[in-house]
């Protein structure tokens, strides 16, 4: 895992700016730019179905990045991430319904309000670590779901709320699925950029320090309370943005969409993607959403196999299928797809030699 191995042979760093560069060689920079351009262009070649999958992948990538910051980098286990995503969704819904704000005004608030709530629920983290925080976020999940489903005058209860997609900006209309995908993709790229820089600068290093050895971090000049609260705040900010974008895609919000199982899938697919890497978060979200589509495709099969109504068969199938996949990953590849990808890249670079 040495830095030097990540550079192709014959690349030398001549100053400290080069030494800390993420994309050092022109080839890698070109590949990155090509990938981004490809992600934009692909919207014009695939149908609505493909665009819907890609939009969801992008939205959940943002949410997964938030969880990666909280859990993967700062080591604080959160079992309430889907609920914070829901807070983001409902923030947009409520602001649009009751105050008539446009989506553009709602979007930052959809980040900041979950951020504030996340910080409040993160306060137990100041004194506790590990398991206790899982309890706190579990409780947060139930309290949030209770408030949303019972504050009928504001949130419309379990009936859900209608949301509006963003209005036109600079002459671009975002009502069509394709244009909306392009918007979500742009925001996703921005968020990935922010998260990548976050984890390699001051605050990101202190996150990892708190995760790896919080006692040492305390004595080595890192304010643990501040760091943990920041991790919670930033992670929930990401979750809220993801929720707002996902909700606006469906133009509808419902309490059913962020159950406890969604929070657990969040955590589980983070494992599948790989802890402690931005690529892992992207991979985890992608696998999750592709799996979603796969399980809806395969439901008719499960129906005939299990017999009876489709409703429970599909529910049971996806529960069993997902949890088995996550458990298998944890047992056989606990460092996830990201680690496997690193190994593949390295063996390609060193090709004729084994290591």
């Amino acid at each position: 895992m040495s830095i030097n191995i990540n550079r192709p042979c014959g690349t030398f760093d001549r100053n400290y700016f080069q030494a800390k560069a993420l994309y050092r060689t022109p080839l890698r920079k070109a590949l990155l730019i090509l990938l981004i351009i490809g992600m934009y262009l692909i919207a014009f070649f695939i149908g609505d179905y493909g665009i819907s999958i890609l939009t969801l992948i992008c939205a959940f990538t943002i949410g997964m990045l938030g969880l990666q910051i909280i859990t993967g980098y700062c080591g604080q286990i959160s079992i309430g991430h889907a609920a914070f995503m829901g807070v983001g969704m409902y923030t947009v819904g409520i602001l649009q319904k009751h105050f008539g704000l446009s989506f553009w005004a709602c979007l930052p608030l959809a980040g900041f309000i979950p951020m504030f709530i996340g910080m409040v629920f993160g306060i137990p983290a100041l004194r506790m670590k590990g398991l206790y925080l899982a309890f706190a976020t579990l409780a947060a999940h139930f309290v949030i779901v209770y408030v949303i489903s019972n504050w009928r005058s504001v949130t419309n209860g379990t009936d859900g709320m209608w949301m509006k997609r963003p209005g036109p900006l600079w002459g671009i209309d975002f009502q069509s699925d394709r244009n909306y995908y392009l918007l979500v993709l742009t925001i996703t790229i921005l968020m990935v950029y922010l998260a990548t820089n976050l984890v390699r600068t001051k605050l990101g290093r202190s996150f990892v320090a708190v995760r790896d050895n919080d006692i040492a971090a305390k004595v080595m000049g890192i304010n643990i309370a501040h760091t943990k609260i920041m991790a919670f705040g930033i992670g929930c900010f990401f979750a809220g943005i993801a929720g707002a974008l996902g909700g606006a895609y469906y133009e509808y919000v419902n309490i059913e969409w962020f159950g406890l199982d969604d929070s657990i899938w969040y955590l589980g697919f983070l494992v599948v993607g790989g802890f402690g890497s931005i690529f892992g978060a992207i991979a985890g979200a992608t696998v999750w959403k592709i799996m979603d589509e796969f399980s809806t495709l395969i439901t008719p099969l499960a129906e005939t196999f299990l017999g009876g109504a489709a409703f429970y068969a599909s529910a049971a199938f996806s529960l069993i299928f997902y949890s088995l996949i996550i458990i298998i990953f944890l047992v056989f590849e606990p460092r996830g797809i990201a680690h496997r990808w690193e190994i593949i890249k390295r063996s390609y670079r060193l090709h004729p030699f084994p290591y």
């Binding site: 859990t71 080591g75 286990i77 079992i79 629920f121 306060i123 137990p124 004194r127 506790m128 590990g130 398991l131 206790y132 899982a134 309890f135 706190a136 579990l138 409780a139 947060a140 139930f142 309290v143 209770y146 489903s149 019972n150 009928r152 006692i215 040492a216 004595v219 199982d261 657990i264 955590l267 589980g268 494992v271 802890f275 299990l306 009876g308 109504a309 409703f311 429970y312 068969a313 529910a315 049971a316 199938f317 996806s318 529960l319 069993i320 997902y322 949890s323 088995l324 996550i326 458990i327 944890l330 047992v331 606990p334």
Partner: protein, 295 residues
Amino acid sequence: MEELIKSIVLGICSGGIYALLAVSYVVIYKSTRVFPFSQAAVLIIGAYLMWYSLIVWHLPIWLGFLITCMGGAILGGIVERAFMRPLVGQPILAPIVVTLCLMLLLRGIGIIIGKGDIQGFGESFLPMGAWQIGFFHLPKIQVYGMALCSLLIAGLMFFYEKTNIGLGMRVVHEDHVVAQNLGINVKRIFQYSWAISCMVAVVAGMLLGNIQGVGLALDANGLIAIAAVLFGGLESFMGAIIAGLAIGILQMLTITYIAPLLPGETTMMIPFVFLLLILFIKPYGLFGLVRIERL
């Protein structure tokens, strides 16, 4: 005043099940240092097993009880062997994710075997009716359930204090590596812990199914019991029992006093608010150990 006494007595009765559940969490946590979120879903499996034995297969009650207990123990053993053992020694996150996923896995299995419907036992397997004592009447189901819970907990305590396996579990609780070096088969102890804990949980599941109806909603009780475990202090049986009773009382008080004021499922929400309060005020619970950190 009448209301208050009534809710406290009823609370203690229903709290017996929470105490039992909390004990089932504590058994595993004490020996393996893994918090078994999956116990919440084991409840569903237990309730369905009992339902199958009594209603579908028409077995006598004692045989149904025995089959359910055996089923729970076997389930626990399998879960430990298949899913938990490969994770021994991994950082705290991995076991938490696995137990959470197990919860959903068992829930999925519960959906398949139960066809997604809520089933009833028709006639309860415990005596129905109620005693009229003074100003309130006491449902017999609750009292017998409480008696069964106390019996089980007492049996478990006896097992833990007096038998060899119990001794092994106590040693493993102190330190895994030391126990291994002293010649105790730590993995075997883990397996026993899971088996015993799941056995206890299925009994709680069948009792709850008897009261609330056999269905997927039972796992909510398991999650509420987490509040009891935390209140009791994660590693203490005494704490778990007291806190289980306390949560039962809290829930009954909620039904009496808070539910009229607030809409929705307050019985589900109030224990979690309580859990948050504990985390803010006294995070290690009533009897939890505060470990001195060393450098």
